[in-house]
Structure formats: structure tokens, C-alpha cells
Symmetry: C2
Subunit: 199 residues, 2 copies
């Protein structure tokens, strides 16, 4: 194909993004070509600035542009509850509920022997250090309800409980708006096992 | 939401791209955050370079990084056939067939009274100038088989024919691999009207 080199280059770079195939890369490149120049520059700047200015919070390992992050700095939050999640996006998801007002700890992954990810690859050592130095009363394990997430949650619970700290995990069951007929068996089984008294 | 500002900024810029909603913008931003730094820089550079180095060929108005473009410069191509298309991507599509060896002229759009696009908004004046100064024997009208594309093609044919230049258009009919049962009526009607003798 006879794409001019700068066009071919951008299409190749865009094609490395997740979910962007050759056709999408082409469409995006044409769009960028027709954008106002300032807007294309703003996009390029935002990419560079992201990589320059975002780092991990040295306390909770969430993404941040200040260290410690704004959540860790916020003294109005409960200082004795710690929610352990796999990824920074999980922090955003939980913040979105406006139901949680404690602190976080981001593991950056889940245990996965098949992928060679062991406890030393996650921020577990740092978690234990926090539990020794901070007045945490409860650890909420909010790993994903997957094989890896569950295994990671159990591993952490086993480390935390001997410290005399309450260890809980997110409830599992039917999602809001679900239809029993179309709910997978594993979820339905969890919902049955975890059934609650109607008060 | 508590996104650090550089993250929120990039998500906003990505969200302006076509087909990129908030969830996709978030996914892409996280991906860019985890890319090797050189790769993120390469993506940003490619965006800026595209806008700096790509312009329109002063002869055929295709996208190019040299002027005249590589197709216009290629003296091994037929110099007496001119294919008129709506968009630069149409040039790429036709080049992809390897069936065409003449020159191009990119209109940059189609007539659309509803959107206020008239002949003066397309590269039609430049087309007529080329027909006067270049030894063109045939103009292939390769606008899209849509209402606007057809109207544009007819408009151009009416201007070109009086110059004594052969004017043709792309064949219309069933696409390869089509199934009669699932072919829309307009296409089927075109295929009937344009039926050819089996020789």
C-alpha cells in the first residue's frame, strides 16, 4: 500500500493499542489528520504528560500525580479500614459507588502460577508493612471473583488473620437486574450458598 | 471520580476520537500508562509528525509527504487515465486491487446540498484545470454508490464529456460472495439492469 510514511507510522503505533486493528487504526489516523492541529497536539501532549507525571503512590500504590496520593492524604477518610484490590481501575470502580470511605492498597495483579506471578510480584510485602505501622482494624479483600482473584484473596486472608485484624471480602451473588434463567451456574451457586434471612 | 489530572486529561483527549467512548478511553489510557516509555513517546511523536509532514499533493490532492505525490511522480503509470475519487482512503482501496495503473484526482467529499457542500467545496475546479493541461483520454468516476456519490459523479460527467474525454464509472452489481436472498433490492436491481451477455 502506498501510505505516506508518517501515515503508515501512526497507523502502526495506533495498531499496537488493545482492540485497535488495522481498519480502526486507519480510521483513527485519518481522523487525527483532519483534527484541528491544536487538538492533535493536545492528544500527543497528554500521552507524554501521562507517562511523565503519573506514578504509583508510595503508600497504597494507586496511580497518582502527587505522592502520597489524594486518597492517602485525605484525613477525612476512615483510617482503620483498608480495601485491597488488584488494579488501580478497581479503586476507581469502588470510588464510583460512593459507599466506601476508607483507604486502599493496590496489589498490581493477582497470583497466577501459570503466568509465573507469585506473591513477590505483587505489593503484598508492602501490605503487611502497612498493617504493622497503620491502625488498620479491617482488611476488605476486593480481588476479582475469578480463580486468580480468589486464590490471591485467600492467600492474603491467611497472612492477615494471624495479625488479629478482621478480614472480609465482597459479597458474591446475583448482580442487580439479573435474570435467574440467564445467570451462569457458578454465580447462582454462590447466590444460593450466600443466601440471607429476610428480616 | 478521583482520576489524577494527567490521566483524566488523556482520557478526555482519547474520548474525542471516533468510536472511542469513556470505557475505551479508560482502557487505552491504562494501556498507554503500562507501555514501555519509548513506545508511548513513539505514539505521541507519530501524531505530531503526521500533522507536520502530511499535506495534500498539489496535483491530485491525495495525502502525501512529498509534493507532487509518489503516484503523480511515477512516470511508469498510465498518464492518460484519471480516476476521480471522493477521499484519500479510496485511492488506497483502489491501489489495493493492483488493477489500476493510471492517475488519481481526490475531490475531498461529495456534493451534498443538505450539508451545504457545493462544487466550490470540492476539488472540481482543479480537476477541470488538469483535464485542460494533461493528456487525459479517460476519466473514471469512482465516487461511492450513494445518493451523494452518484450525484457528484453525474455532475462531473456532465462537465467532462463536452471536453471530448471518455467518461466511465465503476460497475455496479452483486459483490463477490454475495447471496441473492440477502442482497438488498437496490443492489439486485442494479445487477439486473447492468446484466451482461455470457460469452
Amino acid at each position: 500500500m502506498l501510505y505516506p510514511e508518517p501515515m503508515a507510522r501512526l497507523m502502526a503505533e495506533l495498531g499496537r493499542l488493545p482492540g485497535v486493528g488495522p481498519k480502526t487504526a486507519q480510521r483513527l489516523a485519518y481522523h487525527i489528520l483532519r483534527m484541528p492541529r491544536e487538538q492533535a497536539q493536545a492528544l500527543a501532549d497528554a500521552i507524554v504528560r501521562l507517562r511523565q507525571e503519573i506514578r504509583y503512590c508510595s503508600r497504597c500504590f494507586n496511580l497518582t500525580d502527587v505522592d502520597p496520593c489524594r486518597i492517602c492524604q485525605d484525613s477525612s477518610r476512615q483510617q482503620d479500614v483498608l480495601c485491597v484490590v488488584q488494579e488501580p481501575r478497581d479503586v476507581m470502580a469502588i470510588e464510583g459507588t460512593r459507599e466506601y470511605h476508607g483507604l486502599y492498597h493496590v496489589l498490581h495483579g493477582a497470583l497466577s502460577p501459570l503466568q509465573g506471578i507469585g506473591p513477590e510480584n505483587l505489593r503484598i510485602k508492602e501490605l503487611l508493612s502497612r498493617l504493622q505501622h497503620e491502625p488498620i482494624q479491617e482488611v476488605i479483600v476486593a480481588t476479582n471473583p475469578t480463580v486468580e482473584g480468589e486464590a490471591t484473596g485467600l492467600y492474603i486472608a491467611r497472612l492477615v488473620r494471624p495479625l488479629g485484624i478482621r478480614t472480609t471480602r465482597l459479597a458474591q451473588g446475583l448482580p442487580m437486574g439479573a435474570d435467574l434463567e440467564y445467570t451462569d451456574e457458578a454465580t447462582l451457586a454462590q447466590a444460593l450458598v450466600g443466601r440471607k434471612e429476610i428480616s
